[in-house]
């Protein structure tokens, strides 16, 4: 009797197992039509989270959106293998990644979605510094400064003879890539002897608690910490400009304002729900971005981006020369490369 029962139990178990094994084949297709997969930069995450939240409310849950934070580089790897529909990026696609996408047969739309301003910040107790030129920033951060430029007085003679403690983004972050390209002139060229972290909150702590410290952080991290940090006005050649929504929008905060992007796979964009999501994104982001402390692009930029998406203009505008200091509208009008 006991044996019979146990055989019956085993048979049931086998049935359940067989069921589980055949499941992915059955569900794979019906599932992929209502699920939109977004991944990529953690800097862009808050904006996409806001849009995804609203989009799901708007469609009453008929379309499911997931957002991951693999980082800009990690996200592009998945994107170019065709695993995700939309890629969030805090910098334009690199030539290596473009190559990978070509190899993977992934065509894409490149759509700018918002601005971020890299903010050079010091502690409020650092009373001597209110503004800094890009040349001075370069003296501080270039690779040859390593071990040599160690005092504030070496940057500007009126600054005190005190140790200069530099704080910045870790080398895996898009923020690091952008800052080095804008200030030193070459992406990823930086001195190595500074306090680095991928976690922007750690950078905020490091700067706020040390009056000899200077560092760079995304504007979204400066704004809620205004009381503990002082933003240094940056002089890019036309006089010192402080970072703010206005100076970023009108293009005067240069060269440290950058745009954030999303890359949409052309294959996915052919699916109606992805198309709807992207259109919803571009329409809503001007109101949603400020809620999560990012600066929206000028309206013409969104109009141009929507136009590109509608007309099927694929590829990137970022191949061939640095785009630092270029206005977003000019960028959007540049010839795209696939």
């Amino acid at each position: 009797m006991q044996r019979i029962v146990s055989i019956g139990r085993n048979a049931l178990l086998c049935l359940i197992l067989a069921n589980a094994l055949t499941m992915p084949v059955e569900n794979g297709h019906s599932e992929s039509t209502t699920l939109i997969k977004v991944d990529g930069s953690s800097t862009v995450f808050p904006i996409t989270e806001a849009v995804a939240e609203e989009f799901q409310k708007d469609t009453r849950g008929a379309v499911r959106v997931t957002v991951g934070i693999s980082g800009t580089g990690g996200g592009f790897k998945k994107f170019c293998r065709g695993e995700i529909d939309v890629q969030d990026a805090s910098r334009p696609i690199s030539s290596g990644e473009l190559e990978a996408c070509r190899a993977g047969g992934v065509q894409f739309y490149e759509l700018p979605i918002a601005f971020d301003a890299l903010t050079v910040a010091v502690s409020p107790q650092a009373t001597w510094v209110d503004s800094i030129t890009v040349a001075e920033l370069k003296t501080m951060w270039e690779p040859s400064a390593q071990g040599k430029v160690t005092k504030w007085s070496q940057i500007r003679s009126t600054w005190p003879d005190q140790p200069l403690k530099l704080v910045g983004a870790g080398s895996d972050s898009g923020t690091f890539d952008y800052f080095t390209e804008a200030v030193v002139g070459k992406a990823q060229a930086s001195r190595g002897d500074f306090t680095a972290s991928e976690d922007d909150n750690t950078l905020v702590q490091g700067i706020a608690n040390d009056k000899q410290a200077l560092g760079y952080i995304p504007f979204a991290y400066y704004e809620p910490n205004k009381k503990r940090l002082k933003a240094v006005a940056v002089d890019g050649g036309q006089g010192p400009v402080s970072p703010s929504r206005e100076t970023v929008e009108n293009g005067s905060y240069q060269p440290l304002s950058r745009s954030l992007f999303m890359y949409v796979s052309a294959k996915s964009a052919a699916r109606p729900e992805v198309k709807k999501f992207v259109e919803f994104y571009l329409a809503q982001v001007p109101t949603l971005a400020p809620q999560v402390k990012y600066v929206p692009l000028p309206p013409q930029a969104y109009a141009l981006a929507s136009e590109h998406f509608k007309n099927g203009r694929q590829g990137t505008a970022f191949q061939g020369g640095s785009t630092i200091g270029m206005k977003i509208e000019e960028l959007l009008r540049r010839e795209a490369k696939r």
Partner: protein, 302 residues
């Protein structure tokens, strides 16, 4: 005082010193833990509410919640336990009771001990290559559970072997003397008697798995999921559904990680509150194990 008395006195004072040192180390460790929990409570307690437990993530800290995270953690733990425990206990029984004493067994034993010390991120990378790309299991509950299952498998094996080893040999000998086969001895005596310690090992292993972040990010855990997985039951036969195994997932530590890295202070409070819930979940898991263990121990008389 004679020399021998002096020697005894010296040894006694050494003894006292050691006891004092042990106590100090323990108190320091406990204080650090208390301070951590206290800090977490101080930061997060105000945020705990029904709304927090039943809401999806949101850009507004006050509306955000952890429902997708805690459901995810429970389901991932379920897969992890189902994958690692039968396999691990089976392997341990084989190694302790059946395996011949030769170099192959020794090699396996050394490897298991080494695997227990491999950093979790390595398991994540392995799972990404094997489960996600080779077996096409996707970035799903199944992948996550199997990844963590592999991670804790060596711990389960080691704990189970220790437990089995603590069953005195005369129990086995008595069983054999009465004509029991090896399997009957193992099934009816060795495993039931060591069940309490096996369970302790399981819980320690699962408690480690519940806080893992790195390997799950590698296999593709998501930070924003505003829907629940498919329910594990259905209307029609066979009434159980395994569709949820292939749904995208997130877990508590990942939600916390994401909130901690946000600029707004309010999100940090959310992270602390989520930490409290995670702590409560771990404690609840431990409590269940303790109850089961107590019941097993009560049944054993020798």
């Amino acid at each position: 005082m004679t020399p021998i008395q002096r020697k005894i006195a010296r040894h006694k004072s050494l003894d006292r010193f050691f006891a004092f040192e042990g106590l100090t180390v323990m108190i320091v460790a406990l204080l650090v833990l208390l301070a951590l929990v206290g800090q977490l409570m101080f930061d997060g307690l105000t945020r705990l509410s029904w709304q927090f437990l039943t809401s999806f993530p949101s850009r507004f800290p006050a509306q955000a919640g952890i429902v997708s995270a805690w459901v995810g953690t429970i389901l991932v733990m379920l897969v992890t336990a189902l994958a690692a425990i039968p396999l691990g206990v089976g392997a341990a029984i084989y190694l302790e009771e059946y395996a011949p004493n030769n170099w192959a067994t020794e090699l396996i034993e050394i490897n298991i001990a080494n695997l227990a010390g491999v950093p979790s991120i390595v398991y994540g990378l392995m799972a990404l290559g094997l489960l996600v790309y080779q077996f096409h299991l996707g970035q799903s509950f199944l992948t996550a559970g199997l990844t963590l299952g592999m991670l804790i498998l060596p711990m389960v094996i080691i704990a189970t072997r220790e437990a089995i080893r603590s069953v005195p040999p005369y129990v086995r000998e008595a069983a054999y003397a009465l004509g029991a086969t090896k399997w009957q001895t193992v099934r009816d005596h060795v495993v039931p008697y060591s069940m309490g310690s096996i369970l302790t090992g399981m819980i320690l292993a699962l408690s480690r798995a519940v806080g893992e972040t790195a390997p799950l990010i590698t296999v593709g855990a998501l930070s924003f999921i505003a829907f629940l997985p498919h329910p594990p039951w259905q209307e029609a036969f066979p009434f159980v559904s395994f569709e949820w195994l292939f749904d995208p997932f997130t877990v508590m530590p990942i939600q916390m990680f994401n909130w901690v890295s946000r600029p707004q202070e309010e999100f940090h409070v959310n992270a602390a509150a989520a930490g409290l819930i995670l702590l409560a979940m771990t404690l609840a898991m431990n409590a269940v194990a303790i109850v089961i263990r107590a019941r097993f121990r009560k049944r054993i008389h020798w």
